[in-house]
């Protein structure tokens, strides 16, 4: 049998691998033929760099891999390599991301399409390997695109799409692919790596003004008096972020067509058609939430689940359309924001802000899982139960619940 006739059979039976999230993302970096990688260890994202270093040592692909002295240097290396015209990969977790905060910020404001893995982890102190979203959510304001994967397969796919969207001339912004620490970074699950149909999905990266003497000399990020071009420069980033929405839709359409896996660009929903109550969340725990939704549906409860696939650009319009007919929302929230409006999490308050413009506003309750202690399906069921009661009474007893807390929830 010739290779030509063998191919359709392979398509029908994709080769499944059992990979952790970090292993799967490393595969995407290899497929993207990344040129410069900057590594520095911190759990739980480190595995991706271990894997890439092994691939390069074994000659599976070729890239400059720099072992940096800190996360700040890591992100500076990626930023400057990107300015020359190299495709780059970097990443971190927890306090490591905050150590790099300055370099992360300037990467977006200099409009360099670096792709980074954020392996979400609780911030110190005390040191804690648990999962929280705050390490990544703090970068919501600076012009990074942020997508949130629910499993290893989606993490791989999102990484490839991230390069395509970031490097698009209409966007040129850096991109975090966020994955929940441990549950995605460290847990192995079946993954189907893309086959040859992916070829051509990712065109070569060509910056418009490379920092290379081969081209006209550019002076990039020169200091300016605030009155000169400060406002216009910020507007450029704003417009790029606005334009990214269309580019994201385009990229996922093309990707889905090529690999035969269907992805809605911004929101993934389950059981939402006639739902009265909705669970809203992101990331790995979506699967548990869908299980809870299914279980409650079997009991006749009209419960649906909505998952955000992007945190930036924030899918406000899609959320309004999806949620303005429900009566109550249980937010499964792995973030905190001490002293915020109603003392809710950062994820919760962002959703409330988006739904302020909805034509009718559901009750929105925050179920906040801070500090890394793992919730289970009982917690999620209880969250729906509390939301249901609040809807029946017509008013919430309170807005924010710490369900995994031991002791009194003051």
């Amino acid at each position: 049998m010739s290779a030509v006739t063998a191919r359709p059979v392979q398509r029908l039976v994709p080769r499944m691998r059992i990979w952790t999230g970090t292993r799967a993302i490393a595969e995407a970096v290899k497929i993207a033929d990344v040129d410069v990688i900057a590594a520095y260890p911190i759990r739980p994202y480190t595995g991706v760099m271990n894997e890439l270093a092994r691939m390069i040592s074994d000659g599976e692909f070729s890239a400059e891999i720099i072992v940096a002295d800190s996360e700040h240097s890591q992100f500076e290396i990626a930023k400057h390599a990107s300015a020359v015209g190299a495709r780059t990969f970097v990443g971190s977790s927890g306090v490591g991301l905050l150590y790099a905060a300055e370099a992360i910020t300037v990467t977006a404001l200099a409009q360099l399409p670096v792709v980074a893995l954020a392996g979400c982890r609780a911030l110190d102190d005390p040191g804690n390997f648990g999962m929280e979203w705050n390490d990544t959510l703090v970068f919501r304001d600076f012009g990074w695109l942020v997508s949130w994967a629910k499993d290893a397969q989606e993490a791989l796919d999102m990484t490839l799409v991230a390069y395509r969207v970031s490097e698009d001339r209409r966007v040129l912004l850096p991109h975090f692919v966020a994955v929940d620490g441990a549950t995605i970074t460290h847990i192995a699950s079946p993954v189907s790596p893309p086959d040859e149909r992916i070829e051509g999905f990712l065109p070569p990266y060509k910056p418009p003004y490379p920092l290379d003497p081969e081209y006209e000399p550019v002076t990039k990020a020169q200091h300016i008096a605030p009155s000169l071009i400060g406002t216009e420069q910020r507007k450029v980033v704003d417009v790029s972020m606005k334009r990214s929405r269309g580019v994201i839709e385009e990229a996922w359409r093309d990707f889905s067509r090529r690999v035969g896996r269907s992805y809605p660009p911004f929101l993934e929903s389950a059981y939402m058609d006639d739902a009265e109550l909705a669970i809203v969340t992101m990331g790995a725990y979506t699967k548990d939430a869908v299980y809870v939704g299914q279980k409650l549906r079997e009991r006749g409860e009209r419960v649906g689940v909505v998952r955000l696939r992007y945190w930036r650009p924030y899918p406000a319009q899609e959320l309004r359309e999806s949620l303005e007919d429900v009566k109550g929302i249980a937010v499964l929230d792995f973030s905190y924001s001490f002293g915020s409006p109603d003392m809710g999490g950062a994820f919760y308050n962002e959703l409330r802000a988006a739904l302020y413009e909805a034509y009718q506003k559901p009750l929105i309750l925050d179920f906040l899982f801070a500090g890394g202690r793992e919730p289970n399906v009982e917690h999620f069921e209880k969250a729906v139960e509390i939301t249901k009661r609040a809807v029946e009474r017509g008013r919430p007893e309170r807005l924010v619940y710490w369900l995994t807390l031991r002791g009194e929830d003051i």
Binding site: A68, S70, H80, L211, Y215, T219
Partner: protein
């Protein structure tokens, strides 16, 4: 393509890569250093500028640029990483056939705040790699001058700065000894070329830059660059002070090439520090005895510099601070 040594300024040619379009102070030492270093490196160069005087004063007021080769800002602590990222990008793109094969100089021009303090770890990391034509130049004006003269770890003993003012109780001003950054860089086994330089003798800096770029590995040069604003002197004396720093022995010129040390200037008969220090307003509060004590420290250090030169090996010139009892 090897860069040949230069004997006279004429040989350097008339093309500048750091030219008009900046707004540095009259008599700015770092700006003179920038001009010479970029002339020495030539057109196939990428410049990277950590935050500092040579960032803010080279831009800001008008939408102009003094750079005739590609230039990109990096954060105050990002100099080391920026150089590595840029050099790694060129190596990756060239070795993978994505860019034509060519030797590109990467020159990071950072201040003492950027390289001796906040970016010291990043600089150290960078110099453990093997990228060729990657040169870090520390323009040492001995303070954070852009923010209004605050002490750094290369500010000399006795200097008054806004963070180390002379006062009724603390008379001396800065009581820390100047950190010899270049000597610590020489401790990185991968570095092919380490040197100190000044704006005098005239072609010293130019030739050291060319040697550094030819050296076949990452390299580092620390230039003492007088700063009229931070050292408080008449702008017409920038070069005079460079000369006096070298002739009085306050600043030793040396190079360290693949493990071999040599002094590149030996003061014929070392003058006392008095003339050098009395020209600078930052030392006016020091008494003659203070200057004599500092003189003795420099004298001790010079015995070790000369011994290093004789042995062609580095001996760390340790001396106690001249703080009065």
């Amino acid at each position: 393509m090897s860069l040949q040594p230069i004997r006279t300024p004429k040989e350097l040619g008339s093309i500048d890569y750091y030219t008009s379009g900046h707004r540095t102070c009259a008599g700015c030492g770092p700006a003179i250093g920038y001009r010479l270093a970029t002339k020495a490196a030539g057109p196939k160069t990428v410049l990277l500028g950590p935050t500092g005087c040579m960032y803010v004063a080279n831009g800001h007021q008008f939408l102009t640029s003094p750079y005739a080769v590609p230039w990109f800002h990096t954060q105050l602590g990002g100099g080391g990483a920026a150089g590595i990222g840029t050099a790694a990008a060129f190596r990756a793109l060239i070795s993978k056939g994505k860019r034509k094969r060519e030797e590109i100089n990467v020159l990071v021009y950072g201040g003492d705040g950027g390289f001796a303090d906040i970016g010291y770890a990043g600089l150290s990391m960078a110099l453990t790699y093997d990228y060729q034509r990657l040169l870090y130049i520390l323009y040492d004006n001995e303070s954070y001058a852009n923010t209004g003269i605050q002490a750094s770890s290369t500010t000399p003993w006795g200097a008054t700065t806004t963070f180390t003012p002379t006062g009724k109780v603390k008379r001396i001003g800065n009581e820390r000894m100047k950190k010899n950054v270049a000597l610590t860089i020489a401790a990185h086994p991968g570095v092919r070329y380490v040197a100190t330089s000044a704006l005098y003798p005239p072609m010293d800096l130019v030739n050291k830059v060319r040697k550094a770029l030819n050296s076949g590995g990452p390299a580092f040069i620390q230039i003492l660059t007088p700063c009229p604003k931070g050292w408080f002197f008449d702008p017409k004396h920038t070069i005079t002070l460079s000369r006096l720093a070298v002739e009085t022995g306050a600043w030793a010129l040396w190079e360290y090439e693949e493990g071999t040390f040599s002094l590149t200037y030996k003061p014929p008969k070392r003058q006392g520090l008095r003339e050098y220090m009395r020209m600078q307003g930052r030392f006016t509060h020091l008494s003659d005895e203070d200057i004599e004590r500092l003189d003795r420290v420099i004298e001790e250090q010079w015995k070790l510099w000369l011994e290093s030169d004789r042995q062609r090996r580095i001996i760390l010139p340790w001396t106690p601070p001249p703080t009065p009892l």
